[in-house]
Symmetry: C2
Subunit: 188 residues, 2 copies
Amino acid sequence: MKKSLGPQTMVYPLPVWCVGTYDKAGKPNLATVAWAGICCSKPPCVAVSLREATYTYGNILERGAYTVNVPSAAYAAEADYFGIASGRDVDKFQESGLTPVPSGLVDAPYVGEFPLVLECKLLQHNQIGLHTQFIGEIMDVKAEDAVLGQDGKPDIKRIDPIIYATKVQQYYRTGDLIGKAFAMGRKR
Amino acid sequence: MKKSLGPQTMVYPLPVWCVGTYDKAGKPNLATVAWAGICCSKPPCVAVSLREATYTYGNILERGAYTVNVPSAAYAAEADYFGIASGRDVDKFQESGLTPVPSGLVDAPYVGEFPLVLECKLLQHNQIGLHTQFIGEIMDVKAEDAVLGQDGKPDIKRIDPIIYATKVQQYYRTGDLIGKAFAMGRKR
């Protein structure tokens, strides 16, 4: 039996990604988002939504670029911090001890310690309501050698990304393998 | 050491959601998407991206509505099937044995058996490239009683949603709790 819970942003799973930008003065910043996802294959694009009140909002418009940094579970406290503090008040890279690496492709920094990063050029932005969606073209994906499998593709268990459970506000790890996509549904 | 993997839609975690629509004739359909995410808090909105070639693309434009249905891991084979077959050729509800329940709020069906469903009214659509992003306002969230915790909020472990690992094309379950959001980053 289904129960109506009302109009809410309540769906699972959601990602935990840290958006890297430079401000006007060149200070690197990070903001954690869960309102985000891939939105196009060609060109490869990722969308992240931000409120106008955030520091990152202005930075993206100023620089026309951002990075999407995937924290492993080992960096959950840092990722959580990047979603609490504002770049207006603090230097989050400095506070966390993480390394801002200048992207050679776009005008934004990525996190040296995180296992997987996307360097994005702003293609569009679209105000929906409280949030504005920034659509960035993925110019490159960089991954730590250690998270690549023998086939050269990222192994999600080695990346160990964080899953956000909204409403209860909890972080989870990736669990057991269920099966192969574009395969387990074929025998019907 | 980071290795450049080129411009790709390669990021983790991604969701596995089934988009429910009616076609012109009123036949209910389902299509599985991973290019999707929450994109606004007020109004509450979810974005799903589809290629123009898909049956669901035309259905959403025709009806101005869709549902987002979250399959539990137990329905991974069905979800995979909904991403392989086309509603042009088959009745996916009938083939899978799942129940199309007419939404009382929007002109789209939801999956009776899935633990959590979102009923969405199309707000905007935006062609990015190969994919068009459909932004839907969430008019209601409905959840099975059995997946709600004592606090009345959904328990992600009971929903047991599927995580998509792109490139390696694998499905995973939600794993262990890491910690509390907006809390574990405070002690800095």
